[in-house]
């Protein structure tokens, strides 16, 4: 009797905590997605089951080319972020003193206390034709007249790298912090040069952090909207802008949600392929 009431108590407390989470998940995430999924199979008039919305993606080159471009750029940005983050994480965890470590982490975090919009505008103030950099370069006589540094692929990539760097550095620092210095020394002692130490010891050891950081950054960049829109040029269309256009400009919810699902599906596939290629275990990466 007593036993039973006890287990029931546990049940109740479980439900008290579980129900809000379940409701939140269901009402705000699962339900809208189910609705979007349903809409994506409807014809443009809002009637009948059709695959046309999905077909349009593959038959109209502008759509799938935009996606391919977006995906390739996202992979490229992820790689740049990785290459920049590894030495930064190494410096913070292994070289700087414990006191400096906290300070450096704060320095990396501070930009993320302001909204993405403000950050992007900050870049724009620096880079635009009448911006700080142009004025400076003209003044010291490097340029005869100001040139447009904004609205091209380079400035867009720079912006994307900047806005997503934190999400790579933090997981890598987490793993690298547990790397015993004597492993690095042992490799050095056994004849390894700097490059071999990175390739054989540090990177394999940090692989879980690298993979989870890469997945976060890749998804973040792939799904970002503001930075490509504001810093990219007229020709650098991002796939999220296609979705935006469909829903807001053309009012074609059906096409837009189909694109949304394709984005989810294709990006998951890319991550799956990447995990397979690097022989990483997904359960290990999310830990």
């Amino acid at each position: 009797m007593k036993m039973k009431s006890k287990t029931q108590k546990i049940r109740w407390s479980f439900f008290i905590f579980f129900i809000p989470v379940a409701l939140w998940l269901f009402l705000l995430i699962v339900l809208p997605h189910l609705e979007l999924l349903r809409i994506s199979f409807l014809g443009s008039g809002g009637k009948g089951f059709t695959l046309d919305n999905y077909k349009a993606f593959f038959t109209e080159p502008i759509y799938w080319l935009t996606f391919v471009r977006t995906a390739l750029y996202s992979i490229f940005v992820t790689m740049i972020v990785l290459v920049v983050s590894l030495p930064v994480a190494f410096y913070i965890t292994k070289i700087s003193s414990i006191r400096a470590q906290g300070l450096l982490m704060i320095l990396i975090l501070v930009p993320f206390w302001v909204s993405e919009l403000i950050r992007v505008y900050g870049w724009m103030i620096l880079l635009r034709e009448s911006g700080v950099i142009n004025v400076f370069l003209v003044k010291i006589g490097l340029f005869k007249e100001p040139i447009e540094l904004l609205y091209n692929d380079v400035s867009m990539i720079m912006g994307l790298v900047y806005t997503s760097m934190l999400f790579m550095i933090v997981p890598i620092i987490g793993v690298m912090g547990s790397l015993d210095d004597s492993l690095i020394e042992a490799a050095h002692d056994l004849g390894a040069k700097r490059l071999a130490i990175w390739k054989e010891i540090i990177i394999p050891y940090c692989m879980p952090g690298i993979m989870s950081g890469s997945i976060i950054v890749f998804m973040l960049v792939l799904g970002s909207y503001l930075t490509p829109k504001l810093m990219g040029g007229k020709n650098s269309l991002w796939f999220t802008e296609q979705i935006y256009n469909q829903i807001i400009v053309y009012f074609n919810w059906n096409q837009g949600s189909a694109f949304g699902f394709l984005l989810l599906l294709l990006s998951s596939m890319i991550i799956w392929v990447a995990l397979k290629l690097t022989k990483q275990d997904f359960t290990k990466v999310i830990k």
Partner: protein, 370 residues
Amino acid sequence: MQVALSVKDLTKKFGDFTAVNNLTFDVEDGKFFSILGPSGCGKTTLLRMIAGFYQPTGGSIAIQNKDMLGIEPNKRPVNLVFQHLALFPMMNVYENIAFGLKRKGERGNAVERKVNDMLERVGLPGSGSKKVSQLSGGQKQRVAIARCLVLEPSVLLLDEPLGALDAKLREHMKVELKKLQVKVGTTFIYITHDQSEAMVMSDHVAVMNSGKFEQLDTPQNLYSNPSSSFVAQFVGNNNKFAVDLKKNESGQFFASSKNGGLYSLSDSFKLQNSDSFDMFIRPEAIIINPNNTKSTFNSMNADVKAILFDGGNSRLLVTPEKSDQEIIVALPQNRQFDHIKAKDSIKIGWDPEAAVCFEKSEEKIYEDEI
């Protein structure tokens, strides 16, 4: 004999603190050389300078007659077995051992043959595909050593590699390590704070204390002829008596214990600064029921306080009459004194030749060390 390692006037300072103080010594090729000292005396610092991880503040290191100044650790013909082994957790046993060979640019069959040979030598044949986490403490030990030996270093440096093992395994690995060193013939420089490890394995032992060598000798000489109070206390068990030295008219020296008791000595001393000395007698030098007729022989009655039974290493804890000095007496192994019980009164004695005296030093190794 060729000299494998030659160290001259080596000094290392961290700020104002001198961790290694003006050391000079040579190690001959193929020897097992131990550096024995208490925690914090600078052993690791010395080893890291030899391996190349620290730049000396002064002095020089030569390996196989080649000066090592400014040479990176990856270019030195020495390898280091780390205090916590530092095996690479993301590689299996085979890859760990092959790591150094690959860095030298060796490829293919040669690597495989060498690694498998080495696994055989350290008694782990066929374990190449095991993960590091699947190995026992003693096996990890041997992999860490194999990983270095496969590179055929001129000198192998070992930083307390048995420290993390439990007592039984440590006992076993001591013998294994010594056998391995004899088999491969590589010069070993072995760091430890465990005197029995150093004594069992080494050809030569340097006893180190706060950055300096107190004595560099064979284990036998260290044990029988310690050159300082520190060595006498640190190497083997010893009974320590705080004494004042006195001299009678005929030139015979006596030690008068601060805890009561007067003992004759065989050596002569120059009493200059003070007459406060430490006298040491090994537990096995003290004889139970002595029948020595030498006039200077020290004999006395003593009360047995406790029997410290430890198999072949059993001892008695006694206090001489009219004194509260505690003395440890080794029991002979033929069990002839099995009848002795606690609180018995027995006769003990020692030949003054067996006692050594050093001017009193304030340093303590461990509290209540006997």
